[in-house]
Amino acid sequence: MIQHIVKAYDEELKKLHDLIRYMGELTLSQINKAIQSIVDRDAELAREVISEDQKINLLEIRVDELATRILALRQPVASDLRTVIASLKISNQVERIADYAANIAKFSLNLQKLPSFEEVEGLPILIEIPKQMIESALIAFEKADLNLAIKVWHMDSEVDKLYKAYLQNLFAAMIADPKNVNPCTQLLFAAKNIERIGDQSQNIAEAVYTMITGKPFQESDLAKNGSKI
């Protein structure tokens, strides 16, 4: 994109992108730590995730403030306006994803009070696609990459499939032995939060779609364009 005549405007828009990229990096690290704390039964790591969540909340506030400032002082239009609006939405969604990571850390603490349980090994597998979705959705935002955004959008159905399969495993374990009900319940909650991370990442992809095309996201448009990837 050609630069603005007013350099400070470009710097502010870049800062907006930088803040969101940083939010994304921190959030991915939070997710990794939360899952790791379950697998390693590491209470300290789980508590770290819970306390670090505040950092991401504060970053969201900074994005809000900067976006509001740009709207008031620069009166952005066209692609600039759509970028600022997308930033507000995306930072809100990333903040929500970080909340899910903190939730998973809380279930981690609950699990650690129970005997170790082999079904926890399913979580690192289940989290893989949602992590890729966050990462790719934010790259799609930064590079205004429509194809990547659409690709991310389609990844969510895979997450839903894996989530359902994992639930089946947990139900089977509960039926096999009532002692499993307690840990399985915690894992069920954790898995639900992972599934929600996929949904939120899909929402980011939708925000990127609107930012690039200027049109509200509609699933029927994807089919029409034949842009299924």
Partner: protein, 252 residues
């Protein structure tokens, strides 16, 4: 969509130099159309073609059609004075005549003989000043010199003068560029009210103003009409990269 003015394939030359290239643009009735673009892009030239203000320019040559209610205003049978009673104009700097407030508004109706007696003229003056949002401020001093009004009041007086002859279309060339924000807001509010009765065309360098007051926006560049469309759409999702560059401040 009914166009009050329909410009078709307009080419404008100042001597050898071509100022407008094959411009076709419809101006919808009861809407404000904003013309935007960098200096020298042809937007003011275009505006001046709409009431033949360019006629006095030497070596001017024009091709194409400008239809007002379906009738070509460049047809030899058209009386230019009559045309200008249908297509009024408001300029960048307020330019009241060095006469009283009353006489400024009464001037047009007088030369076009639009009234029967003095009381009918009084009514036209009051109605025009009221429509221009100026009546309450000047009703007790109608005989005072118009030049003693503030800049914003003078501009509203010029608008009252333009609407006194009950035109179909009002052209405005940067009508707020010499005014402070409060006076500008009053003119913008006025433009929005006037559009119910008149078709308005405004040239402005203030893009936010174009976005605020117009329903249709046309972007000119180097004598070409690059893009025209619904204002909300043009300012959120312009189709042409040159439009995008200009309105976002990336124009180089």
């Amino acid at each position: 969509m009914a166009f009050k003015i329909d410009v078709q394939n307009l080419n404008l030359f100042y001597g050898e130099k071509q100022a407008l290239f094959n411009v076709s643009l419809g101006l919808p009735a009861s809407q404000t159309t904003a013309l935007i673009g960098p200096s020298g892009c042809g937007k003011s030239s275009f505006l001046r073609c709409l009431n033949r203000m360019n006629d006095v320019v030497p070596n001017l040559h024009l091709e194409g059609k400008v239809l007002l209610d379906g009738k070509d205003i460049y047809d030899p049978s058209v009386d230019v004075v009559d045309l200008r009673s249908h297509v009024g104009m408001v300029f960048q700097k307020p330019n009241p005549f060095p006469r009283s407030i009353y006489e400024n508004v009464a001037y047009g109706p007088r030369i076009h003989r639009l009234f029967k007696d003095k009381s009918a003229l009084d009514q036209i003056v009051e109605k025009s000043l009221t429509r221009a949002g100026l009546w309450d401020e000047v009703k007790d001093r109608l005989q005072q010199a118009a030049t003693r009004l503030s800049g914003g009041q003078q501009q509203r007086l010029c608008i009252a003068r333009a609407i006194a002859v009950n035109p179909k279309v009002i052209l405005m060339d940067e009508p707020c560029s010499a005014l402070d924000p409060i006076a500008t807001a009053k003119i913008e509010e006025l433009i929005d009210e006037l559009r119910e009765k008149f078709t308005l065309v405004i040239v402005t360098h203030n893009l936010q103003q174009a976005a605020r007051i117009s329903q249709k926006t046309a972007f000119f560049h180097s004598g070409y009409l690059v893009e025209a469309g619904e204002t909300g759409e043009l300012f959120t999702t312009p189709k042409d990269e040159r439009t995008q560059g200009y309105i976002t401040g990336r124009y180089g």
